[in-house]
């Protein structure tokens, strides 16, 4: 295991999310463990993206607790440190109004990685996701699939302990999908935790060690993918 585990397990205890009174999610009790690739499936509007945001500490639960490996709660300021050891690829990633290169480099600069090292890692990530030729392009002008790859590259360079992926191959062509799935597997092999949302049953079959089926804000099934789907 290349990456030390501190943010896992992520434990949900009676978590609900009801931003304006109406409950969108929960109550949820479950935990995300190290070592497994968890895939979350479910219909549109089930709450999959909200669930990832809660795990990543971007949303605070209305009730209940989310705790992680070293005890930080999603409501607490220490979760910022936890979040720094996670990364997320959003369903609709937001790219900075800068070049592809600057986008990929950005979070490394934030973390104070030395310039030379950051440059090397950025180059590697861009080429892993097939973007090396586009490095100087302005990121906002990329095609849909290219944008999604850049978001993946941007998460990739961070070498997070936990990687949340919200439909990460939805805009990718078949070849790129294969490549990205391979990258994710490599990531998993290095000891990182992968939590992924997908609508593709076949992708879920390929990628899931554990599968969660979410419907109307509730986990209705949980277990090996063959059982759930």
């Amino acid at each position: 295991m290349g990456v030390p585990q501190k943010t896992l397990p992520i434990v949900f205890e009676g978590v609900t999310f009801a931003p304006s009174g109406v409950s969108l999610l929960g109550p949820l009790d479950f935990q995300l463990n190290a070592g497994q690739r968890t895939v979350i499936v479910g219909p549109n509007g089930a709450g999959k993206s909200l669930l990832l945001r809660l795990c990543h500490g971007l949303l605070k639960p209305t009730a209940g607790q989310i705790r992680c490996g070293d005890g930080a709660e999603a409501k607490s300021p220490e979760y910022t440190a936890v979040r720094q050891r996670q990364a997320m690829v959003f369903q609709r990633p937001i790219l900075l109004r800068r070049s592809v290169w600057a986008n990929a480099l950005y979070s490394l600069k934030l973390r104070g990685i030395p310039k030379d090292q950051a440059r090397v890692e950025t180059t590697a990530a861009l080429s892993l996701f097939g973007l090396e030729a586009l490095a100087k392009r302005s990121a906002r002008h990329l095609s849909g699939g290219e944008q999604q790859r850049l978001a993946l590259a941007r998460a990739w360079v961070l070498k997070p302990e936990v990687l949340f992926l919200d439909e990460p191959t939805s805009a990718l062509d078949p070849d790129a999908t294969v490549a990205v799935e391979a990258a994710i597997d490599q990531f998993h092999a290095n000891g990182s935790k992968v939590v992924m949302v997908t609508h593709s049953v076949s992708q879920a079959r390929r990628m899931a060690d554990e599968c969660l089926l979410l419907e109307r804000g509730q986990i209705v099934k949980k277990g090996p993918v063959a059982e759930v789907l």
Binding site: R83, A87, F90, P93, L96, R97, R98, L110, R111, L158
Partner: protein
Amino acid sequence: MGDAFAGAAWLVLAGDAVLLGIVQLSLQVSLSAVFFASLLALPVGAAIALYHFPGRGAVIVLLNALMGLPPVVAGLLVYLMLSRAGPLGSLGLLFTPAAMVVVQALLIFPIVAALTRQMVSDLWDEYHEQLTSLGTSRLRAIPTLLWDGRFSLVTTLLAGFGRATAEVGAVLIVGGNIAGVTRVMTTSIALETSKGNLELALALGAILMTLTLLINAMAFGVGELAKRRYE
């Protein structure tokens, strides 16, 4: 009118030392004021957009309201501070260009800060979750958003610059419109107006607006070039 303007334009072109000095002082004072005010107002405006703290709404309202700080009132406040009878009297800044920079910076600060707050808020709505996920602290998000919004923020700075070059109430009180020392374009215009030299006053106004136009054209040109490079 034509004559007065031709005359005034002639003075500028012929390099009339007095008029050139006035023009130069106007630009120096207003540009310095914009510079110093923005140095603070851009990050402060952005910080108010990003941070949530008790009384944030009140601060936003205050900032918006201070866009309406009357120059005369700002002038009086700074006058009372800098007067020999005031707390900072010993600095001897009253009736100097430095005092004019201070008072104009005071006037511009809320304008730049309030408009920046709004623009950065709008950008933050879009970037919020993504930046947080990437590990950007709110403090670190300030330069990120200012940079990504730089093309729009130019208009904010120009609004501040316009306010500075145009106002007369504040510089009159703290500068005193002393010939050769603190006389700027707007105070000259006001002076000529009260002498009844309306045409000369208008001609000076036209010169001032021409300068303002030039500076705005430069800002626009630089912005367009930079945008093209970015695109």
